[in-house]
Symmetry: D2
Subunit: 360 residues, 4 copies
Amino acid sequence: MPNSLGHLFRITTFGESHGGGVGVIVDGCPPRIPLAAADIQVDLDRRRPGQSKIVTPRKESDTCEILSGVSDGQTLGTPIAILVRNEDQRPEAYKEMETLYRPSHADYTYQAKYGVRAVQGGGRASARETIGRVAAGAVAQQVFRKLVPGLEILAYVSQVHHLIAPTQVENITFKEIESNIVRWPDSHDAERVIALIEQVRSEGDSVGGVVSVIVRGAPVGLGEPVFDKLEADLAKAMLSLPASKGFEIGSGFAGTRLRGSEHNDAFINVGGRVRTATNRSGGIQGGISNGEEIVFRVAFKPTATIAQAQQTVSISGEPAELKARGRHDPCVLPRAVPMVEAMTRLVLVDHWLRQRAIAD
Amino acid sequence: MPNSLGHLFRITTFGESHGGGVGVIVDGCPPRIPLAAADIQVDLDRRRPGQSKIVTPRKESDTCEILSGVSDGQTLGTPIAILVRNEDQRPEAYKEMETLYRPSHADYTYQAKYGVRAVQGGGRASARETIGRVAAGAVAQQVFRKLVPGLEILAYVSQVHHLIAPTQVENITFKEIESNIVRWPDSHDAERVIALIEQVRSEGDSVGGVVSVIVRGAPVGLGEPVFDKLEADLAKAMLSLPASKGFEIGSGFAGTRLRGSEHNDAFINVGGRVRTATNRSGGIQGGISNGEEIVFRVAFKPTATIAQAQQTVSISGEPAELKARGRHDPCVLPRAVPMVEAMTRLVLVDHWLRQRAIAD
Amino acid sequence: MPNSLGHLFRITTFGESHGGGVGVIVDGCPPRIPLAAADIQVDLDRRRPGQSKIVTPRKESDTCEILSGVSDGQTLGTPIAILVRNEDQRPEAYKEMETLYRPSHADYTYQAKYGVRAVQGGGRASARETIGRVAAGAVAQQVFRKLVPGLEILAYVSQVHHLIAPTQVENITFKEIESNIVRWPDSHDAERVIALIEQVRSEGDSVGGVVSVIVRGAPVGLGEPVFDKLEADLAKAMLSLPASKGFEIGSGFAGTRLRGSEHNDAFINVGGRVRTATNRSGGIQGGISNGEEIVFRVAFKPTATIAQAQQTVSISGEPAELKARGRHDPCVLPRAVPMVEAMTRLVLVDHWLRQRAIAD
Amino acid sequence: MPNSLGHLFRITTFGESHGGGVGVIVDGCPPRIPLAAADIQVDLDRRRPGQSKIVTPRKESDTCEILSGVSDGQTLGTPIAILVRNEDQRPEAYKEMETLYRPSHADYTYQAKYGVRAVQGGGRASARETIGRVAAGAVAQQVFRKLVPGLEILAYVSQVHHLIAPTQVENITFKEIESNIVRWPDSHDAERVIALIEQVRSEGDSVGGVVSVIVRGAPVGLGEPVFDKLEADLAKAMLSLPASKGFEIGSGFAGTRLRGSEHNDAFINVGGRVRTATNRSGGIQGGISNGEEIVFRVAFKPTATIAQAQQTVSISGEPAELKARGRHDPCVLPRAVPMVEAMTRLVLVDHWLRQRAIAD
C-alpha cells in the first residue's frame, strides 16, 4: 500500500510537515529485541535539521516517543508505533505556497492527484516524512545487532556536484564518515566539499550528488529471484526517497561499457567458501546475495527549494514569480545518508525474515 | 510475494527453462477488454530467440495459449492464465552446469538459498521467465488501448557498449525502432551497432548497453507519494529484469552535477494546462506523474554466458574451467526492449487502476 | 500483515492496554472526505467503558487525536493517524497476571508464541485494541456519508444468553437500538436483558450472545468471487474481534436443514430491478452483493474475565487458583455492537473502492 | 488479491468451468519437499465428480500436470504451477443459462459486477475452481508430512439435513471417514444418510449440511493476534468455499448460551505441558493455537442447482421458469470434505511459515 513497505518487517509511515506529528508503525518485528527510544533517537539526530552549518537551520528536536510494542526494554512482537511531534511551525513562511506551485516540488502533482493538498511546508511530500523511515531503520538495526551481529551497513556521500570522494572501499569506516559534517568517507578531504556547499548556499542555490552504500557481512541467500530481487527492492527503496533520481548496483551504468569477458566475476574457493575474484555483480547474483559486499549508488538531484527567483504558475494558472522564504538545505546529501542507511536496513531485514521462513 | 507484481493489476509468473512450460496469471484485469492470443503473440515474437542474426539462435516458437479469463474475445474480470510450452530442450547442452557454477549467473546463489536448483538451462533464472512478463504486458496494453488510447510507451536501445544513439526524443517512433534488428531509434545508424555485436559474437564475447523509455500521454496523477512513487515502482520493475544493473529517471546521475537553479523545471501555462518548460523531472514529481513525458533509462550488463573459457569452482568447491556450450545472446539489448516495455506497461496500468479507485 | 486489514482502504492498529496509547493508521482513504475528531469520538463513546451500568466501570475517556491526513476539515488522501492515550492504568490490579495464566485469555498463547508478553491488562489482546478499529470504522462511515449516502449499516444485540430479541428486520432503526443500554432492537423488551446481565454480574459471572447486522442500500457488485468473497471477508473481520466464536450469513447454520427447493431465492423483477423474492442468500451470491439486505450474525462467548475463583497454572507450571481483580464487562455484547459495525464498514468500504477501480 | 490466498504460502487459482482448464500457482512453498503429481491426484480424486452414486455423474478425470517448480521429485522453492484440463464440456446443457439467471447462483451478480460473464457451466463460480485449492492443499500436506509429521487434519460430514453424526471426537479416523461415500465419521451409520441423499435426488431436490474439522498435533503459537487470528483466517477460508454459509470455532453459537464460569477452559499441567481441562476455545486463544485440538464446523447450504422448475427472470428482465438440465450434486457435503481439508491445510501452512520467520 502507498505508505507501507516490506512484506514481513512492514512499516507504515504517517504525517505531514504540519499537524500533530509524523511517525511510523513497525509491524512484524521479532519479539525480544532490545529497544529503547535512545536507540532510535541517535539516528533521528543524524537526520535532523540544524545539525551543522551546511544543512537547513530549521529548529526541530525531532524527539521520538515509542507508543507501543515495547515493554521492559524489549520488543513484544506487536506493532511498534513511534511518534515525533511537529515543532517550529511557521505558517507565514509558506504563505506563497498556498497560491503558487513551487518548481520541481510536488505541489502541483498532489493537487492534480488528490484535488486538495496540505499547503504548509510540503505536507506529506516534506522530508519530515523520512523521520518514520529512519526510526523504523533504527528498529531494524536493533534486530541485526542481536541476530546478525556481523552485518554492517555503511552509507556515505561519495559525490557532491563535481567533487568526487577518493574512496578505497576497504578503508571506509562509520567513524570516519561521521567525523565530518558532509559524511564524506575521507575527513581530510571534506573541507573542499564543505566550502562548495557554503558557496552554493551563499548564492541562493543548491547542489546534488551521490550517496554510496557498502553492506559488509550480509548473509548469503537474501533476495527473491524474480520480482523481489534484492537489488530490485533496494532500487525501489532508494527511488522512494525524496530527490533521488537514480540507482545502480555493482558495475552499474559503467558496466554497460565492458565486455562479458571483462565483467564476469570468476568464482574462487577462499578457505572453503565460494567467493568471487571481483565484485562487479555488487554482491547480488540472480537477485540473491552471494556473500560478497553489497555495493550500490544513489543519485540525488539538487534541492528544489532555492533562494533565487523562479518562474512558475499560480493555482489559477497565472504566470508568477516565486522566491522561497522557507529555510532549506543547500545540499540534501549529508542528511540523506541516514535515510539511505535506514532504507537499506529495512530492505535487508525484510528479506532476512523471509529467508528464515523457508530455510531449514 | 516473490513471483508476483502489482497491487490491483497483479501478475504471477511461473516456470523454469525446462519442464512443462512458463507463463503467467494476470489477476485484476478489468472486464470487457478485447483480448486474443494474437494480441499476446505479437509481443512474444519480439522477445523470442532466433528472431534475427544478432540474438541467440535457439529455436523456440513461444506459442501462447490463453487458459482462462477470456470468453468471446473479451476479458471476464477473472484471472487470465497464459501458458507457453517449453521446446528445444537439449539437456546435454547443460551437462557441465550440473557440476560447475557459471560466473555471474545465479547457479551458486540459487543453490545457496534453496539447497537445490534446476540444473538445466538456468531453471527459474532463465530469461524464459520473462515470457510471462511480456505476455502480461500485452494484456496491460489491451487495457490501455481501450481505456487510455492516448498513452504510448516506447522503449529502444540507446547505447550498446560505447556506441550511443543520436536521439532526438521527439522524432522517435515505434515504427522506426522496429524497423531494425537492434531496436535502435535511428535505423540509418543501426548498421554500426549490428557490426559491433556480430564482431563481439565472433570473438565469443558479449556486450551490454542501455534501454531508454519514453512514455507519451500518461495521465496526470499516477503514482503514490511515499513508497510506491511511480519512479520507485518503475525502478523495481526494471531492476527485476535479468542482467539489469541500473535505473535513472529524468536527469538521473547526470543531474547530480547541476545546480538547483539549472535543474528545476519552471512551470508554465500552455493553453490552459500546467506544464513544465523543461523536463529534468522526467515526468514525475513527488512520485506522481505530472503529464509530461516520462523518460528513464535502464542499464544492462554484458551477457554472462560467453564462449570463452572462464575460471570457476565446482559444486564441491574444486577450481575448474568452464566453457559454455549453450547458445546465447551476444547482446541482450534487442530482446530486452519488449521486456522493458512490458514492465513499464505493468507498472502504469497498476497505478492507473489505483488512481481510479480514489478519484472522483 | 498481522495488524493490518484491507486492500485499498487499509488500516493498521497499534497499542497495548498499557503504555503510550492505542490507535490506528488509515491508509487509502479517498481525499476530500469531511472528517473531524468529533466524527470519530461519537463512535468511540459508544465503545467506551463506563458508558452504562451493565458494562465495565473502568474510567477511560478514550479521547482521540487526529495526528495526520486531515487539513481544513477534510481528508488529504494521505495516511490518517489517530491516537488515543491510555489512562486509568492501575498496574496493581494485574499483579497476579504476571505469574498466572488467566483461563480462556491469551496470556498463555502470547507467551508461547513470542516468548514474552505485556503482563498488564492483557497487553495487545486487550479490548482496547478495538479502539483503532472503531476509529477507522468512523472514517469509513464518513466516506459512505459523502459517496454512498444510501448505505445504512445496523448492528444490534439479538441474543444474550438464552434471551432472544423479537425482531422484525424491517422495523429496526439505529435510533431504537441506541435508545437502550443493551443495544437491543426493541427497547420495550430491553429491561429483562438488563436484569439478566445485572444478575450475572452480581454472581461474579458473565454471559455471551449474538450480534446481528443488517446492511441496507449496499451497492450491487461488491465482493470478489473467489477468496475475497464479501461474506469471507466479513467472516474474517468478525472472527478477528475478541471473544467472537462464530459467523453465519443469510440462512446460516439453520439453512443446512432446508432443501434446495425451500432455500433458493427466486429472482423477480421489481420495478425494473432484478431482486429476490426471499433473502436466504443474505444479500450475497457467489461472493458478490446482489443489492438485497446483507444480513449476518456473530456469536460472542461469555467474557473470560469473571470474579469467581478459577483453576489455572502459573508461568512456572504450578497449579494455582486465580480470582480476577480487574474490572470487567459481565457481557461484552453492548460494547461489541460498535465494533461489529466498524468492521462491517471497513470490509464494505474496501470492497467498494476495489469495485471502483475496475468498473466503468 | 481476489484470486490469491496466503501471505507466505500463497496460492492463486485460475480457470473457468469451460475453456482451457483450471489450476493453481503455489508461490512460497519451501524447497526440497517431495512432490509428485500422484500426491496431488489422490486428493483431486476425492474431490472429483462421478466418484460415487451420491454425487454428480459428470465425467471428468481431473488429471493434473505439474508445470513448474518441481525437479527430480522435489520442490525447487520456485512457483509450482498445476494444470487440470477441462473435459466433458457440453455447452448445450447450459443453453438456458445464457438468457436466464439461475436462482441462488452467481449468474446475476457476476453480470452485475463485471458487465459480462462466462455463460457455460457457471464459469469462474463453478465448483471446478476448487480444483486449484485442493491441488494446493495437497502441496501443503507434503510440507507438513516432511516438516510437521505429527500434524493431522481430519474433515468429515457431521450433519446432512436433519441427520446428525453420533461422533466421539477421539475415535474419528481418516480411514473410517474415507470408508464410506458420505465421508461420515461412523461408517455403520452412513447408510441412512446415503438413503436420504438418494431420496432427495430422486425428488429433483438437494440438501445441505455441516462439515466438521479436527486438527490434531498443531504446533502451539500459530496465528497472529489481531486481524490474522487463526480462527479469522480459517473463517475466511471456509466462507470462501462455494455454498458455505457459516463457521464456528470451539463452542461456537452454542457457547453463547453458557456462562463464563461454565465456558472457560481451566489450565492444567499435564506432564509438564500447559494444557486445558476442556476445549471450548477450540484450540485457539487470542487468535493463537494453544496446542489443543483445533475444532470447527462449516455450514453448507443445499445445492442451488435442482431439477425442479423454479421462478426466475431473464437477462432482459422478463419473468421466466428455469428447469436445470445440467448434472449436479444432490448434496455437496461429501465432495466438500476434501475442499475443507485443503483450505485448512493452506491456512495452517501459511501461519506455520509466518511463525518460523519470527521464532528463534
